[in-house]
């Protein structure tokens, strides 16, 4: 049964070295279309995992299932040892989901968005943390602005600030750099690295393969809703070469991606 209380930091579960995110046999069916099928993977604390795949591969559906936004048709998701279906409040208290298109409340100012998040997630000393984030994301001076008065990039930054305020241990990002300027992109990358180094697990979905290659420790390639490759870049190279060895090499993620997805290209599966 879902729990009522929000999950404060002091209630966090110690994982004893286990993975922060565990996904087992995840599947999602829309009507007659199987969008995601039998997806199994884990993400450890301090790890950045990239989710890549062609358009319509099921990346966004997967992320939305992981964030508890849409219910999976089958499978199990555990976040910090909390089952997302059985104990959604505690599981969701550990995560932040940043969609590709910032979804903001039209009538709340920048600071009011952060105040709202602070209450929902029970963030102590939120004003100081908000100031740090606003400074970091160049939103200082815009505290009283409404979303309508912000540019696309600023809205994205506010969405990021709202996601980071409660210091989530699992960060789910869908195309995180959309709309950001070059400086914003650099800061976002630094921020994600810092948070991973600080112990957060990050899952990011992107079509920007150089970004994924640069930031991610492991990469999950999905096509037609299925896991077609999972591992570090070197491990995937090794698997593609037909050996089980880790093969450091010059072949970029882009080359590998094209090879993998062209091999596994299949029409959308119908139920």
């Amino acid at each position: 049964m879902p729990q009522r209380r929000s999950c404060g930091k002091n209630e966090r579960v110690t994982l004893n070295g286990g993975p922060l995110l565990q996904v087992e046999g995840l599947g999602k069916i829309y009507g007659e279309l199987r969008a995601v099928s039998d997806l199994t993977f884990e993400v450890n604390l301090g790890e950045v995992v990239g989710l890549v795949g062609p358009n319509g591969a099921g990346k966004t559906t997967t992320l939305r299932c992981l964030a508890g936004i849409i219910p999976p048709t089958q499978g199990r998701i555990r976040i910090a040892a909390h089952d997302l279906q059985q104990d959604p409040v505690r599981a969701k208290g550990e995560l932040a989901f940043l969609p590709d298109e910032p979804r903001l409340f039209d009538y709340l100012t920048v600071r009011e968005h952060l105040n709202l998040i602070a209450r929902i997630y029970g963030v102590a000393d939120w004003e100081r943390k908000a100031d740090v984030l606003l400074e970091e994301l160049e939103l200082k001076g815009k505290e009283n602005a409404l979303p309508l008065e912000l540019s696309r990039g600023m809205k994205q930054k506010l969405s990021i600030a709202s996601g980071f305020l409660h210091e989530p241990r699992l960060i789910l990002l869908d195309e995180p750099l959309t709309g950001l300027d070059p400086l914003g992109i650099r800061r976002m990358k630094q921020s994600l690295r810092q948070r991973a180094e600080g112990g957060a697990a990050v899952v990011l979905s992107s079509h920007l393969l150089p970004l994924v290659e640069e930031l991610c420790h492991r990469i999950l390639v999905i096509a037609g809703g299925r896991n077609v490759a999972f591992g570090s870049l070197d491990e995937i190279r090794g698997r593609l070469s037909g050996t089980a060895q880790v093969l450091p090499g010059r072949e970029s993620l882009e080359d590998l991606f094209i090879r993998i997805t062209s091999q596994s290209a299949a029409p959308e599966e119908k139920v």
């Binding site: 879902p2 729990q3 009522r4 929000s6 999950c7 829309y30 009507g31 559906t61 939305r64 964030a67 508890g68 936004i69 849409i70 219910p71 959604p88 409040v89 505690r90 599981a91 969701k92 208290g93 995560l95 932040a96 989901f97 969609p99 979804r103 903001l104 409340f105 039209d106 009538y107 709340l108 100012t109 009011e112 105040n115 709202l116 602070a118 209450r119 929902i120 997630y121 029970g122 963030v123 102590a124 000393d125 939120w126 009283n144 409404l146 309508l148």
Partner: protein, 573 residues
């Protein structure tokens, strides 16, 4: 491929795909039922009475037809005058964003683009004419087909004139005349022409004033004044298409059709020969529409572009600890205070003022104002939840964010319903207090002050509970039938949307009265038992019992809706 062929491809494929999608949607019972309900209503209200073929049906009497013609002429003149004087200074032509993206850079001439736009506009005016004919064609002239052709000619000519005016205004601006000078010039010329013509009609032609004013004599005078030159020449192009629409038989139709077609052709020639650049303004206009649509999809302002929000007032300081659902109530109260409440207050003041004015002729002002306040309380029970849409109806497009919050469905539903309920309840309590206060010094035999206080207290207990029921139903509608409430590109249109609204209204009324049944029974029983002993003082107790029953029902409904929210999948078909 020529633009004409491309245009026909766009339109035919668009209509075909829309029909195909509608048929696909109807595989699901909720869309099928809505479409059938809409079609049934359409048939019962309009279709059954409409026949294109057959003899003449009901006709307006000749004098009324003449009055109608006069009204239409005046309406057309006002539209034309306001377009020239107050219209936009940019040559904005309505193109969709896709048309701009695909057709503007395409190797087609400017004239071809203009023709595309004009054809589209003429097709739209035909649809409008068809709807007008369905509503009124049979009873106006009894000749719906002739009315259809005539009303299309009226609308098409007016549409071409407005486009021509926009292009000409823009051309004047390009030639260096400022917007203010142009407006002033247009206004001066217009006034001079109208003044001159009226002077000519009254002083030179001198139609004989009737001795006794009646509808017939007034019409005869207007007929005489407007049929003499030069007023008749000025009005001729305006009257020509209207005469076609109001033709009472085939010979009138046949004689009035060629001049109307001539006027249409002249307008077409005027617009097409214009060499004003319309592209930039059209792109800007398309972007504006896109922004407004985006605002609608993000839940802003119920389909309009968001109004400017100047207020930064918050209802209370939100701490970072405590029940998380209070954060959602706080958010919704902010939304209400910044947009909905000012509008509602204006509405209430206007209604209170109107009802006070209508009653002050017979009664003193203060008790009348008190009565007006009391009358607004039940109005708010029904209209308040419709006006205060700061709940799931506004947050549906943000459902991703709400779903990702660490809150149970029950908490979210409770918070969403509570926000607007609080606002409406505070308004109702204020109105009730005002009603009692304003009428306190006015003696009402049989309804003394203590009785008034007892009734007001009962209303204060019951009215917010009723508002909560209404809000719970409206929000249940959104959670159970999200596709009926969302602003998706594939949202229902036409007959299906009509059916959805009818079913929603019927369902809301049914559930509302069904939900009130147990509360009414319990409340009536308590009032009946205590009336003898307590009289009016029994009412607040009975209301409290009824409100308690409603609260119990609500707690069960919110628990159930919470489970619906927990399972909610916006992506489900």
């Amino acid at each position: 491929m020529s633009l004409a062929r491309a245009a026909s491809l766009i339109w035919i494929a668009g209509i075909r795909n829309r029909i195909r999608r509608q048929i696909q949607r109807m595989r699901q019972p909720k869309y099928l039922v809505a479409t059938l309900a809409g079609a049934l209503y359409f048939w019962l209200v309009l279709g059954r009475r409409f026949r294109f073929s057959g003899g003449a049906g009901m006709q307006l009497p000749a004098e009324f037809a003449e009055v109608l013609q006069l009204v239409l002429v005046v309406f057309a003149l006002i539209s034309i005058a306001s377009a020239w004087v107050f219209g936009s200074d940019k040559a904005e032509l309505t193109f969709t964003e896709a048309e701009i993206q695909f057709l503007f850079p395409a190797p087609v001439t400017r004239r071809a683009l203009l023709n595309f736009r004009l054809t589209k506009s003429l097709l739209r005016t035909f649809l409008s004419a068809l709807i007008m004919t369905l509503f009124s064609g049979r009873w106006v002239t009894g000749r719906p087909l002739m009315f259809l052709v005539g009303s299309w000619l009226c609308l098409a000519t007016l549409s071409l004139h407005l486009t021509g005016a926009a292009l000409t205004r823009s051309s004047l601006l390009e030639s260096g005349r400022s917007a203010f000078r142009r407006r002033l010039g247009t206004l001066a010329i217009g006034l001079a022409v109208v003044g001159g013509i009226v002077w000519w009609a009254l002083e030179v032609s001198k139609p004989e004033l009737p001795e006794v004013w009646s509808l017939e004599s007034a019409l005869a005078w207007i007929r005489a004044a407007t049929s003499s030159a030069p007023l008749s020449w000025v009005l001729y192009p305006v009257r020509a298409p209207i005469r076609v629409a109001l033709a009472r038989d085939l010979s009138q139709f046949a004689s009035s059709l060629p001049p109307a077609l001539g006027v249409l052709a002249i307008h077409y020639g005027w617009v097409i020969s214009s060499n004003v650049a319309f592209e930039e303004a059209s792109v800007e206009a398309a972007e504006r529409r896109a922004r407004a649509r985006e605002a609608r999809r993000s839940g802003g302002a119920r389909g309009r572009s968001l109004p400017a929000v100047k207020s930064r007032i918050v209802p209370f300081r939100l701490g970072s600890s405590g029940r998380p659902e209070i954060a959602l109530v706080w958010k919704n109260l902010i939304a209400a205070m910044r947009v909905s409440v000012p509008r509602m207050l204006l509405f209430l003041i206007a209604m209170g003022f109107a009802s006070s004015i209508s009653l002050t002729r017979r009664f003193p002002l203060l008790p009348v104002a008190g009565a007006a306040c009391a009358l607004l309380v039940p109005v708010l029970v029904l209209l308040g939840p419709n006006a205060m849409r700061i709940d799931f109806r506004q947050d549906l497009s943000q459902i991703d964010i709400l779903r990702s919050f660490p809150m149970t469905g029950r908490q979210v539903v409770r918070a969403e319903v509570l926000g607007p309920a609080l606002i409406v309840a505070v308004l109702q309590w204020t109105l009730l207090a005002a009603a009692v206060g304003l009428s306190a010094s006015y003696p009402m035999p049989g309804f003394e002050l203590p009785k008034r206080i007892a009734v007001a207290l009962s209303a204060a207990l019951l009215a917010p509970a009723l508002v909560l029921v209404n809000l719970a139903i409206q929000n249940a509608g959104v959670l159970l039938f999200p596709s009926w409430a969302s602003f998706d590109p594939g949202q229902a249109r036409g007959i299906e949307a009509l059916g959805q609204r009818l079913l929603t209204l019927a369902g809301t009324l049914f559930v509302f009265f069904f939900a009130l049944l147990p509360a009414t029974l319990f409340g009536a029983a308590v009032a009946g038992l205590l009336w003898r002993a307590l009289h009016f003082s029994a009412l607040p107790i009975a209301s409290a019992v009824a409100a308690a029953v409603i609260t119990f029902e609500l707690s069960i409904s919110i628990r159930w809706l919470g489970r619906v929210f927990d399972r909610f999948d916006l992506t489900a078909p």
